[in-house]
């Protein structure tokens, strides 16, 4: 009351001011209270939400456990969609990687890291045929060492290693791959010749392990008595499947028109693989109907890969 009196003494306006200030204070406090209430409510909601999440996770965990115990026959129910998506993604990734590996396989050179280094696989091929694979296990540390390998003994592996192994492993691998591919290619040609054109050859082919020297006598027709031509092919370039030198000689008692063919044959042998040469020179002398009926599979194979004599030799190309 005394206050009121004092305020009355001071004036109504100041009293009103005081009242206004008090009302403002009350309003602020109320606002604070309200905010607090809201906060707690929000917190409570959050707690509820977290509890719910916790329960969900618990049930999920239980489900997983029961699945593990129960075996693989039950499937994920609630969060299956996302996991399935992840699974699909992983599968897709592995497929892509496998595809990439396949592509490396196609280059004829593939490797796998081992505990101490890497193991390389050289898959050889000639034209459209895959041939033997060779392996090389390298110890990758200075100096690089060949641990073991399955490279044939007549491939000059030591010389190639001496040249490139310590300085340029890539070069070493491509050169070695070139040697192996060329060897496989030369062997393949010889095998093809003996398999498909035995009737045109006098006995077998005289050669060696590296197939870098070949000698044989041949004729152009099955029914002719003699084998008038003698071929001697040398492959000085060991990374090539074609001879560097081809010498065809004609036996003395052969008719003159055959002797004229030797130069043409020499050129053919230098340009084409052996079996292609034979398919060309024997077909040209035989009547077409005969050769068709007799060697139809061969002719189809010629037409298939006539665009190039050496379908695949990336390592050689890289080496050059």
């Amino acid at each position: 009351m005394g206050e009121n009196r004092a305020s009355l003494q001071k004036g109504v306006l100041s009293h009103l001011e005081q009242l206004e200030a008090a009302a403002h204070e009350v309003a602020l406090k109320r606002g604070e209270l309200k905010a607090q209430e809201e906060d707690t409510a929000r917190m409570k909601r959050r707690i509820k939400e977290l509890r719910r999440q916790r329960d969900a996770l618990r049930t999920k965990l239980d489900l997983c456990r029961s699945q593990l115990i129960g075996g693989k026959n039950t499937t994920n129910v609630d969060s299956g969609t996302t996991e399935a998506g992840q699974q699909a993604l992983l599968e897709w990734k592995t497929e892509t990687l496998k595809g990439l590996l396949q592509v490396f396989h196609l280059t004829g050179l593939s490797g796998k890291l081992t505990q101490r280094g890497a193991c390389f696989c050289f898959s050889t091929a000639f034209e459209n045929t895959y041939l033997d694979s060779y392996y090389l296990d390298l110890l990758i540390k200075q100096p690089v060492q060949i641990l073991r390998h399955s490279v044939p003994p007549f491939i000059p592996l030591e010389q190639i290693a001496h040249k490139y192994l310590q300085t340029d492993i890539k070069r070493f691998l491509t050169v070695l791959s070139g040697h192996l591919n060329a060897l496989a290619g030369r062997k393949f040609q010889v095998d093809q010749l003996q398999e498909n054109y035995a009737a045109f050859l006098d006995g077998g082919l005289q050669g060696n392990s590296l197939c870098n020297l070949l000698e044989f006598s041949y004729r152009l027709a099955r029914d002719s008595e003699a084998f008038p031509f003698v071929a001697r092919l040398t492959y000085a370039n060991l990374v090539s499947t074609l001879p560097t030198e081809a010498t065809i000689s004609c036996k003395e008692d052969a008719p003159a028109f055959l002797a004229e063919l030797t130069a043409a044959h020499e050129a053919l042998f230098r340009e084409k693989p052996l079996h292609r040469v034979f398919s060309a020179i024997t077909a040209s002398t035989d009547s077409p109907s005969q050769s068709l009926s007799r060697e139809s599979p061969l002719i189809s194979s010629t037409s298939l890969s006539s665009e190039g004599h050496d379908g695949r030799h990336p390592p050689e190309a890289a080496a050059k």
Binding site: H105, K112, R148, S150, V151, P153, P156, Q206, N208, L238
Partner: protein
Amino acid sequence: MAKKRPRESPRQNPPVKVFIMDVTVAEYIRRTVLRIPRSETRTMLTRWKFLSDSQLQSLNTNQKKEDISREVVELCQENCATITHAADLDMIYSYTYRDKMLWDVYQMIREEGDENDFFDLANFTKKFEESLRSSFKNVTITFKEFEDNSIWIRVAWGAQYRKPNQYKPSYVVYHSQTPYVFICKSINKSSMPLLFQALLVAANYSDIHEMDLRSRCLDSLKDIVFKRCSKSFPTHHLQPLQEKNSNLENVDPRIIREDKHEKERIQRIDRETFGDGPQPKLEFAQYRLKTTFRGDLINDILPNIEPFRCTVKFSSPHLLEALRSLAPAGIADAPLSPLLTCITQKARNHFNIREREGAHSKNSPGQGRIYK
């Protein structure tokens, strides 16, 4: 009566007259035919290509072997056989039964250079013969190339005023452009240097040495030195290894194999060391030891101990397969000692094991070194 010989043999140069068959030749052919099993007689004579088809037809192989051989000798008489032909038949026999002989592997070494080696069989045989005959006239040399691309050389050695002994020849097997030679030694050891010399000249190499690799199975020796053993190389394209003995998994689930992991470990190690394929066939491995005993006690008792010498020889009809089965059978711990598993990799089955220099002072057991 004498028929024309059906076969030309351009490399023969027989000192014997062609018309009358030499007694020793006849006897040699007779004995060679006697060695051939009856069931094989016809096929082997066909491979020989010396007798004509009609002669082969007329030959009765159902009689006693004595009679077969006599009949063959008569036919050879008709065809005027020489020692070269007889040696040819012997080579076919020896090639077919090559596992009856003991083979030694030799390695040739070439000086730097000579990268392009155009091996020519005719040139090789000519050089070989020239070299051998230049130092030793009294020899019978025969060459034959077989379907596995191997070149067989048969050398029968003579002595002063005595004809070459056809019954104790040396056989040499060579694959062109490889540094390896497989030799079945003759009794006549003193002739070996001549043989080596001829080989080095013919194949254009500068030195030759023994590899300490011996076996009866020639093909396995080739597999080892030509690196044809199917060792499992790790690649991305290898098929996943199939579990062997998988039928054991499906027995009563209450049975637990306690050593399952250990078994798997042994199998894995075995596969890593020996690979998957069949092992090359060796009959023995020999280790010559010259080591000292180690350990404090021994050192105290005997301060200056003499090295202990002994030879350990493992023999088996199929040594490497036997070694491979040691660990899975539970007889030995896996992995086996590298001394046993390095045979194919080092291409040798004779080892000399000596003390490592200064190893006795360190007193560490198991330190040995393989010397040549």
